[in-house]
Structure formats: structure tokens, C-alpha cells
Symmetry: C2
Amino acid sequence: MLSEIKKENSEELKAYLESRNEEISSDIIVTVSKILEDVRKRKDEAVIAYTEKFDGIRLENYCVSEAEIDEAASHCDPFFMESMQKAKKNIEFFHNAQKQNGYLLQKEKGIYLGQRVLPLDSVGIYVPGGRAQYPSSVLMNAIPAKVAGVKRIVMITPPSKEGSLHPNIAYAAKLAGIDEIYKVGGAQGIGALAYGTQTLPPVDKIVGPGNIFVAAAKKLVFGKVDIDMIAGPSEILVVADENANPAYVASDLLSQAEHDPMASAILLTTSVSLLDAVNEELRKQTDVLPKKAIVEESMKHYGKAIVCDSIEECVNIANQIAPEHLELMVEDPMAYLGLVRHAGSVFMGYYTCESIGDYFGGTNHVLPTSGTARFSSALSVDSFIKKSSFLHYTKEAVDAYGSYIVEMGEQEDLQAHANAVKVRLK
Amino acid sequence: MLSEIKKENSEELKAYLESRNEEISSDIIVTVSKILEDVRKRKDEAVIAYTEKFDGIRLENYCVSEAEIDEAASHCDPFFMESMQKAKKNIEFFHNAQKQNGYLLQKEKGIYLGQRVLPLDSVGIYVPGGRAQYPSSVLMNAIPAKVAGVKRIVMITPPSKEGSLHPNIAYAAKLAGIDEIYKVGGAQGIGALAYGTQTLPPVDKIVGPGNIFVAAAKKLVFGKVDIDMIAGPSEILVVADENANPAYVASDLLSQAEHDPMASAILLTTSVSLLDAVNEELRKQTDVLPKKAIVEESMKHYGKAIVCDSIEECVNIANQIAPEHLELMVEDPMAYLGLVRHAGSVFMGYYTCESIGDYFGGTNHVLPTSGTARFSSALSVDSFIKKSSFLHYTKEAVDAYGSYIVEMGEQEDLQAHANAVKVRLK
């Protein structure tokens, strides 16, 4: 059941949602720092010891062989594999359009300048283990890196107690074209990716979700390597008009709520009767869900609704909140897309439930949370490239423009900057 | 004088350079946290009090009027203003080519999906005060934001003891089209930008260099707002062949060394006699520099040279180090640019000294330091946009592909994700 709040209080709702962001405690920081330091120094020896301690298995060799990957993947459901193949094609189709070119500009006096677009050399993807396994996340993290042209894509994942790899994860890794897999998780896994070990050469960037220890480790190694964003609790905001089907609205809100007791599900609508019907549907649909307890907890704290005067007003409030997922369940969604300034990903019309995008449609499901869509973007090909500029001046060009550069250097009291031009003017 | 190291030790050189990155001490973190918390709570009252404490002047109103900006800018040297105008044109010319478009892809069964490119709503630029003033940095930070389409660009800078604005900074702000200026610096300035005060509405992203307190404050507000990179000490790496002019090479190394005792200046060359001649020039040129003490300190610790067998080998070592600035002082620089995989910005040929790019050529001078060019890029139009995806499925498309999505949801044990599709298949 959604608790209704007044539209005048939308600013408070925003602050309330942002307050879910969990601070990493200093205890965790200290614990994780020690693990990282130990992995940096003792490399394999430390990795093997921490895996034994935290995952309950001693793996003298944590590099996964091709035979082991094939064996694990052979246990997958054929229809699951077919679904993943189709999803992969759609994800590639969407991300191929994100490839960028460099440019070269030419000017008078032999001046030229430009920018090159280069893929990162190597990337590490963290894939959580434990009970939950998300093969879709392997595709969402690996495919953009592949499209960007990254030559070496490494996956790490904690081993099960038996030291095995989940079949779905093994299949996803094969399908995505991952080059190396290592059975190591937690802070020790992040340390191995950042600093390298005898077994695992270091990478330049680490992406992928993990628990609080993994998040802390990623924050701590940032600077040595790049990282993706640290995601907060997941969130959906549905804007619905009076013609939206309440069963659809309810199912979409619940699909977010099942992730996490901290997940939020917000409905903005112009219709009081829709709101009532959605609440009725929520009751019915929640009852039969396997994750009913999580859903109820999440909806109790973070299931909210606001009734607005117009769809424009709904979209304005959505912009304030800058949700990770925004559904426009309205008659003509294209008429409103242009008003959306802040949203990670937008799901258009009555039939595009968020789970289509989570798995299959092609857009990326790694999205900015907690209002950060105001200034950040989904994981994309951009996340795996960098740009490098270049500039060429001839003697003639230095003769023509050198005095301006000397003036600017001297005004900033940087005489050696000015001198570098002066020696060339002689 | 450059101390020569063996090419076999280039990995150690890399580690040595990276060790310059200064850790922010926990004392500073605690001090800065308190200031930020105070600004968040007491807003203007706190800002005014900290300005009085740290900058030695009580400013009841720290918003700068247009008249005050005009008055300050009227004291600028006319040739300086002309130089800045020409630099602005070049910077715009380079950055205009970075504008990106969104895309729309259409598929069977009424499916469409795509990505929109949107400017950030608002940006704050930190401009350091004190003795040093860098009007060129105002252009380098503001112009890409302007080109990106950011509607509100705010500048903050600590006031002088008399409460005034430096003429060159005032002129640069006018020229760059900055919308609002506030006389506030330090951690309190970063707090005001991130949380907002009665005088200064908050922004979405904070860019620009500052001292260690500013850097700590930026790290702490990251997440609430976006920030640019925290820059480490500046660095130049010159690759020079036997035809390079030693006076030019020396002047370029010195232009980096004058920034900071921690700045590094590295020469990679195929010619022992060039190295000797550069060392001779360094002695001569250093002697007459106003910042001689800084230069000597920097060269003593971080002035290094490696003699290589070929220019290819020089470039390979440069890739290992991933320098902020790379000069290719060789006969045919275009022949080697394609081998450069990791460099913030590349200066091509004998005449393109780094200071041309620092001030005038058009490429951005806010560049990745400390080896982070391996995975990050210069400040650019990209720094002031975000991307938002969208996806549309029709009933027909859900009917055709829904079973794949249900399968993927169920394999991940996310029944509510599968349900959102199932209710639409009924």
C-alpha cells in the first residue's frame, strides 16, 4: 500500500529518499584497508587465505580454466541460454550506437589539434556470489566494455563452498566474451584486481555491484584504478494517467520493491481512482510473491504516492527526485519525454515495464541512483574509453601568436611558462 | 639537472611518481567535515563567519554585483584582455567539436529505444585566491560547461583581505560568461555550493582546483553533487630525438617544474649528447628564473632522464607512466601519435611547448595526473552533460518476447520482475 503525500512536500520526499544512502562505517573501512594492504603485499598468499576464511574453501589455484567454465555452463537451461543470446544481441545493438570517434581540426599556419578516443587496456568485473546470481549483470557490465574495444576483460566472483561456479554465471561470461575468470570475491578480490597478484595481473578499472565490503574496497582503491559508481538502493518512479492499467502499475512498483527493503517505489498520478485501484492490486499481487517480506518492508517505508493536477506536474516532481527508473505510463509518452531532465532510464508507455529494460530491451540496467541522475549517467561505452587531446604549432604559428602566450604566462607569474615560448621566438 | 635512470627501472620510476600523491590526513577530514556540517545547518551565517576567520574580512553580502565585476575588470591590461579573447576563441573552437547528439533506434513490432544527451542544470567553479591567480583556469573550466549548454555557471573565489576580486579573474569570468560570482573560498565555499545557502542556491557539480582543504571538501560532498578529479602534482614527459633543440627541451621541462616542488619533469631520448646539452641548458635557464628555488627542489627529486634505443621505446615507457603532458619533440610526431595509448594531452613536434596548450591552443589544461591518464580524460564538454536512455515496447513486442524476459527473471529468482511481464501477457 502506497502512503500518500502532498505534492507540496515533494522536496521532503527527495531528502527522505536520499537519506537511505548508507554511510560506510569506519570499522568497515579499517577492516577493508587491512585486507587491501595485505593483498598488495602478500598477493596470492593473502588471496588464498582470505578466500579460505570468508568463503570456506581453500583454492590453491583460483584462476578458472576454460574446461571448468564449459563444464559449469553445460548445466544451463536451454531456454535460458536462448533468452540470454537474444538479450545479448539487443544490448549490443543499443551500445554499438554509443561508439565515438575522435576528431582532427586544422587551422591557419599549419596549426592542427584534436582528440583521440581510446579504449581502456583492461577492466575487471565484480560478480557477486552467494545465494543470488545475476547473469544479466554480467552482460550489462561486459558488453559495453567489449563494444568500447577493451582487449582484456576479467571477471571475479566468490566461489561457492564447493569451489564451483554458478552455471548461469559461467554461461553469461562465455556469452559476453570475458577473457579471464577468477574465483575470488570480497575486498580481497578488489585488492587483487587493483594491485595484481602472481595469478591475476592488475586491471585499469573495476565495475560491478557488491556488498558493503566490496563497495568500501572500491572506494579505497579509486585513484589507483578507476571504478564505476557505488550504487545506492534501487528506485522506480511511475508517472501514470487515468488510463493506465492498475495491475500493470502495481506489478512494476513491486518489481522494484522485491530487490531490497530499502528500495523505493513512487507513483505520481493525476487520478485518485487509479491510486485506489493500484493499492488494491498491490494487496492482491504482494500476497503471492516469494519475496513478500522484503516487499512489505520496502513498501511500508518507501512506497509513496502523490496526486498531481497534470502530467506536466508529475514530470516536474520526477525531475526533482531524479529517479533511477522512470516509467511514463501515459497515452502519449513521447509528448512528455522532452520534459524529463533527470532520470537514469525512461520506460515509455503502458507496456514497457522496467524488467524489459533490466533484462532484454538493450538499454543498460546499471543506472544512477539516489538522485545522482541529476549529474550522472548509466554505464555505457563511455565508461570504458578515455580521450586524449593533441596539439601542433609550427614555428610560423609560434611567431604569430607567441606574444599572447607570453603575456598570459607573465600575468600569472609563471615566467618559465612564458620562457618556453620566448626561447622559440628568438 | 636530470638524474639518469636505466630504462629497465621504468616501472620503479612510475611507482615513485605515483607515490607523490598526498593522502588527506584524518585531521583535515575531521576539520573539513565540521565546516561542511556547519554550512549545511547555518548556511549564510556560517559562511560569513568562516570567511571572517580564514580570509580576515567580514562580508555581510558575499554575492558580487555586476558593477563590482565591471569595476575590477576595468583595471586589466589591454594586451592581456586581447590575449584572453583570442584564447577564448581557440578554446571554444576545440570544445565545440566535443558536442554530442543523442540517438533513436527503431526496431520491429513498434519497439524503439535511444539515448538523450542533456546538459547539467548548474555548475560551480572554484577559483583559488591568495597570491596566485590563474585567469586561464577560469576559461578552461567555464567554456566547456558553456558549450555543453549549462544554464547556470557559478564561480566562487576567496576574497582578498580588502574584500576585493582580482581584476584578471573578474575579466576572465566576464569573458567566459559566468552567471554568478560569490566571494567565498575554502571548505566553506564548497559547502555553500553543495548544500546551498540563502545567498547561493546549490549546484549539481563542482569543478576547479584548490588547496588541500578544498580537495578534502570536494571528496566529502561527492555523491551529493558531482566533482571533477582531484588533481595531483603536475607532470611533463618529453620524448626527444637527436634533432631536438636542447634549449627548447630545457625550457619545457622547467615550465612544469616551476609549478610545485612536487612537479615532475622527465626526458626520454635516444641521444646521450642531447641529454648532456639539455642539462647544460637547465643550469643556464634555471639561474634566471624567479621561481628558482621551487624549480631546483622539483628537479632534484623529480627531474629524471632515460636514454632509449629508439623513439618507439621512448613511447612505450611513456605509456607505462601515462603522463599528464607528453611532448613528442621528434621529426615526424604524427608517425608516433598512434603508438601513444596513455597521455592526458600530447604536444606535437619541436615548436609546440606545453604552455601553448596551457593558455592558448584550445585543448583543455585540466588533465589527468599521476598515471590516471590510463583510465581518465581531460575536462571537456563530456564533464558537463549526462545521458538518459529510453525504451518503448508495444503490446505486440511484449507478446513476442515476453517469455524470454520471464525466463530471465525467474532464473534470477526475481518473481516480481517476471510478474510485471506476465500481467501484460494475460
